[in-house]
């Protein structure tokens, strides 16, 4: 697989000379493959946007190298880098029509007139905006401006397309529709997409691979399932989706399983990911949807334990149950409403709480 972008030990420090230098990126290395939908995911201030701006050339690296298909680009001016950006608030030129906006990059590249005209028409129909080519940006809705911004960035056929939280200004329905379209667009064009977002759902739905970032460092890189099911540390597990964390100590282990003591005497078994020893302090994590709730009589699994419903949060298509397991341990689990719309359990009900040891994983501290 060819690398589209290779980030090698990149560091970025803002205000380096001042008395308040800010380290936005700390020795970050990662490789983005050609024809990949790659997402930089993290909370605000984690350095994901800084990294994107370094690739685009709006900021200068403080150290390290950025390779674009074997060319070193970190010292080039933004207009010398064959990458294009879709900005968070679109940054469409208000004094130009949609067609003029899309043609801007091609004109700067001194393409011949007929070619510019043909390309503008092609990318505008790609994003279904051809019929509005003569409008000004302020005559368009947010979703339409978004499409124009995409078309403008795609028109010069960049080697890599950079997207800086492009969906954050849209409302929920439109955002969900645009997810599908972006994914489709990436497949159709074959251009490498680097997508920045703080929305984990967006990242899981669209990406081929995700880099989870926090405080200027990459925490984990992997496919959506890897990141969700096998987070490397507590930050990743916590940032992606809802999770139960159980802090305890390893008391026994064999090849497949480790046994941990949580609280005073509750024992939990978890998958052995290797490298653990008896006596280690560890955190176990368990996704709420891996927990089966049932009434004590219906309990099918021998692995189930008793618990009591402590709290319920109704979410429409499901309800989040906080279950008191005794010994100071609480677990969050999910249950769907029944067909008549009523919730299956009420606060104070006794439950059988079932989960398999394979659903529990050990996180590095």
């Amino acid at each position: 697989m060819t690398a589209a972008i290779d980030i090698r030990g990149v560091t970025k420090i803002y205000n380096p000379g001042s008395n308040q230098p800010v380290k936005a990126l700390d020795d970050v290395s990662l490789t983005i493959n050609d024809n990949e939908f790659f997402t930089l995911l993290g909370p605000s201030g984690c350095g994901k946007t800084t990294l994107l701006r370094l690739i685009a050339g709006f900021e200068q690296v403080s150290g390290g190298e950025i390779m674009l298909f074997d060319d070193e680009i970190e010292n080039l001016e933004p207009n010398r880098r064959p990458v294009n950006t879709v900005f968070q608030h679109y940054a469409l030129f208000p004094h130009m029509t949609v067609a003029q906006n899309v043609a801007f990059g091609l004109e700067r590249l001194k393409k011949p007139r007929p070619e510019i005209k043909a390309t503008v028409e092609r990318v505008l129909s790609l994003v279904k905006m051809k019929h509005l080519a003569d409008r000004r940006p302020n005559q368009l809705s947010g979703g339409q401006q978004q499409r124009v911004a995409l078309a403008r960035a795609l028109a010069p056929s960049p080697k890599v397309l950079l997207l800086d939280e492009p969906l954050s200004a849209l409302d929920l329905k439109l955002r969900q529709a645009m997810r599908e379209e972006l994914k489709q667009l990436q497949k159709e064009t074959g251009i490498t997409f680097v997508f920045v977002t703080h929305d984990q759902e967006e990242a899981l739905a669209m990406s081929d691979r995700i880099a989870v970032m926090s405080e200027g460092e990459v925490q984990q890189i992997g496919g959506p399932t890897d990141i969700y099911e096998h987070p490397l540390n507590r930050f990743v597990a916590d940032f992606i989706g809802d999770t139960n964390f159980l802090d305890g100590e390893i008391v026994d282990l064999n090849e497949d399983l480790v046994t941990c003591r949580i609280g005073e005497q509750s024992m939990f078994e978890a998958e052995n990911s290797g490298g653990h020893r008896v006596g280690d302090r560890v955190t176990l994590f368990l996704r709420p949807e891996k927990i089966r709730l049932s009434t004590p009589d219906d309990a099918v699994s021998t692995e189930s334990r008793p618990g009591t419903v402590a709290n319920i949060v109704y979410l429409g298509n499901q309800a989040a149950y906080t279950v008191d397991m005794g010994d100071g341990v609480e677990l969050t689990a999910q249950a769907r409403p029944r067909e008549d719309g009523k919730l299956p359990f009420a606060v104070g009900d006794s439950l059988a709480v079932g989960f398999s040891a394979r659903a529990l994983r050990v996180l590095a501290q």
């Binding site: 001016e77 004094h95 010069p156």
Partner: protein, 278 residues
């Protein structure tokens, strides 16, 4: 309630029912008094410019004789010409300098003396005009500069710069820098970004600054009187000298024409800024 006045300042066009004027008793009559106070003298001035009588305040029937007389007056013609030359040159030079200054201060990042530079550019707005006039006069005398109308042009350019600077800087500060980044990202060099994105977006500010400069320069009296020697009389200075020789409706006619020029400039600006908005 608290959002009402805010809405009023951010989008004056949209908030029609924001402040119910009728709720404040007596406001309507005060408003009328205010407008009468403001515009009645001007209306009287225009009215008597059509007086056929020699005496300004004695109505002798309608006539445009004084306009014809004013147009035939060689002194008035040369004063108008001087005023136009001074205002045009001063406006062009002052606006160019103000644009460059605003670009450096708004886009040049942080450099030493930025705050002081900003203060120094806007300070002339607060210096009493007579002080500036005396200072410029002494300065020209000290360096022995005696270019006639050129002296007036230099003086006008100097005091027009802050007036041109303010709207241009305001426009720049309100401009989204990501537009310029987008241009750079789309393969525009720094010059092309300036030419195709910054300047077109800055145009309303530049026009406002130029218009302000032109009107201020056309209107200036004190500095021109001090600096301008014989042969560099501008219209305001000439009108003042006419008054000293005795009031005739010719002054009214000339003043009315000056007012028309001002209104024409403001209208032209208004039409142009409406075009760039849509």
């Amino acid at each position: 309630m608290s959002s009402v006045p805010m809405e009023n300042t951010t989008s004056p066009r949209k908030s029609k029912k924001a402040l119910p004027v009728g709720h404040y008793r007596g406001l309507a009559s005060w408003t009328v008094v205010f407008f009468v106070f403001l515009y009645l003298p001007i209306v009287v001035l225009i009215f008597y410019s059509f007086n056929a009588n020699r005496m300004v305040m004695n109505w002798g029937g309608f006539g445009i004789d004084w306009y014809i007389k004013a147009f035939q007056n060689d002194d008035i013609q040369s004063a108008v010409w001087n005023s136009l030359v001074v205002a045009t040159v001063a406006t062009v030079v002052a606006t160019a300098i103000a644009t460059v200054g605003a670009l450096v201060l708004a886009r040049g990042g942080n450099f030493r003396g930025k705050t002081i530079s900003l203060g120094l550019i806007t300070l002339p707005l607060m210096v009493p005009e007579i002080v500036t006039a005396v200072a410029v006069l002494i300065f020209f005398a000290a360096i022995g500069l005696n270019w006639g109308l050129g002296n007036v042009i230099i003086a006008h350019t100097t005091f027009c710069i802050p007036f041109a600077f303010m709207p241009i800087r305001a426009r720049l500060e309100g401009m989204d820098t990501s537009l310029e980044q987008a241009a750079r990202d789309l393969y525009a060099s720094e010059w092309e970004t300036f030419r195709y994105v910054t300047v077109p977006l800055l145009m309303p500010g530049i026009l406002a600054g130029a218009m302000l400069s032109f009107v201020i320069s056309m209107d200036d009296f004190i500095i021109t009187l001090m600096v301008g020697g014989a042969g560099s009389t501008t219209l305001p200075v000439y009108i003042y000298s006419m008054i000293r020789r005795g009031l005739t409706p010719e002054i009214n006619a000339v003043s009315t024409l000056l007012l028309l020029v001002s209104i024409a400039i403001v209208t032209a600006y208004w039409i142009m800024s409406r075009k760039t908005e849509t």
